[in-house]
Point group: C2
Chain length 83, copies 2
């Protein structure tokens, strides 16, 4: 079955404590090339049947309304994934 990926990240201007903790852990482990880490969510929506433009538009709407919190998060991608 076809899948749509929705990716949601914390708004850039917000502090990301989990990301900071991960960045510090990488640095302590010697991976100093990575100066910052931010952590968001990746949703895989399985679609029954084909992905039509209408279904993709509905996924975009759901991404904004249900799968993310518009106050603290941005939807950064909504895309069909080759099966």
């Amino acid at each position: 079955m076809a899948k749509i990926i929705v990716e949601v990240m914390p708004k850039a201007e917000l502090l990301d404590p989990q990301g900071k903790a991960t960045a510090n852990a990488l640095r302590r482990g010697g991976a100093t090339e990575f100066v910052d880490v931010r952590i968001g969510k990746r949703f895989e929506l399985t679609v029954d049947g084909e992905i039509t433009p209408e279904i993709l538009a509905k996924a975009e709407q759901l991404a904004a309304d249900v799968l993310s919190n518009g106050v603290i998060e941005d939807v950064v991608a909504v895309a069909e994934v080759a099966a």
Copy 2:
């Protein structure tokens, strides 16, 4: 600065209660086209300077060792993002 995206998903064979709850919420809301939802993590690693093959390889290593739990998760993508 350049960024590397690491995407981690729960292993396919594992129950994903958050995903199931989200799928049920979508269905109750009338979005019956989406028969399943799985939720994972999306990491943005900011790199100081250029992304070399060595840095990408290091990110892959960190994705497996630090950013994911190999018992319950799979790393599904490690890729450079155009700035």
